[in-house]
Amino acid sequence: MIPFTTTPEQRLKLAGYVVEMLKTDLDREFIAAASELAREAQGVYDLFELWATMKDDPKERDQIIADIQDLLDDYRDAPKQPLEKPYIQFDQLDDVTQRIIKEKLTLRQLIEQHGGVSAVAQKAGIPQPSLSRMLNSASMPRRSTLYKIANALDLPETTIAFEWTR
């Protein structure tokens, strides 16, 4: 068995966490996809368990949802076999982050023009904490996320094109 596979007992517990999650306003498709992944990957199951223990901490729960969405994207985009991409020199990291931040600022302005982060997240089918994290971080955005935003806002690809994406 691959290490860190969710155990049968954990799968049973997961059902209870899913019932709790269904009581929130989280998108049903997100919950379905996340629970399917948690049935396989124990690290995702652990995040469900953490989420369940954080009843009184909505901010922490939001961060856990953003983590789960990150992992859903990681698993969806994972290569079938080890893949080497070109390296970035340490001295270039500052320049790369500055360009990413600048482009995210432009994207944020577009999002504000279309009703703000919550409204756009809902339209695009992205959990709101996940979209907020993406906009506020210096991480390379995923092309799939940019496409979701473009489609939701009916924007051409040229408008949401980033120099650095994953």
Binding site: I2, G43, Q63, D74, P79, K85, Y87, F90, M140, R166
Partner: protein
């Protein structure tokens, strides 16, 4: 190997000015390069649990998972953590984060565990070798 997940984490740490060029060149990079010599490491630093320890989540050790640690690093005196997966004698840098509280560290280690699952299946993207 530096995974794409680690690169993404570095970008955020750089943006947050967690460390500068000097700290990277004199502390972080030389320490990380010691991983080239394999695990168990011949270097004495690796016997110091304040520098190197097994990664644990909910008091359970993550097999093949370790943490490299720096204390009071940079101008903000942060606790920098670098989870490292050892797969077929190769060290893979998976995440990098500033330990701010227990809940945050638990989330980071859950992510690490989920990434180790992908590594075990060979489904990893890497950006550079050490």
């Amino acid at each position: 190997m530096i995974t794409e997940w680690a690169l993404d984490a570095y970008l955020n740490l750089k943006h947050q000015r967690v460390f500068d060029v000097k700290e990277y060149r004199t502390q972080i990079r030389p320490d990380v390069q010691l991983l080239r010599d394999g695990i168990p490491s011949p270097h004495p630093q690796f016997t110091n649990s304040k520098f190197w320890s097994p990664a644990t989540l909910n008091k359970v050790v993550l097999a093949g998972g370790f943490k490299m640690k720096w204390h009071n690093l940079g101008p903000q005196l942060v606790q920098l953590r670098l989870p490292v997966a050892i797969e077929s004698n190769t060290a893979l840098l998976c995440e990098a984060y500033v330990k701010t509280n227990q809940a945050y560290e638990q989330r980071q280690l859950a992510r690490f565990k989920a990434h180790m699952f992908l590594i075990a299946k060979g489904q990893v993207t890497y950006r550079a070798t050490l």
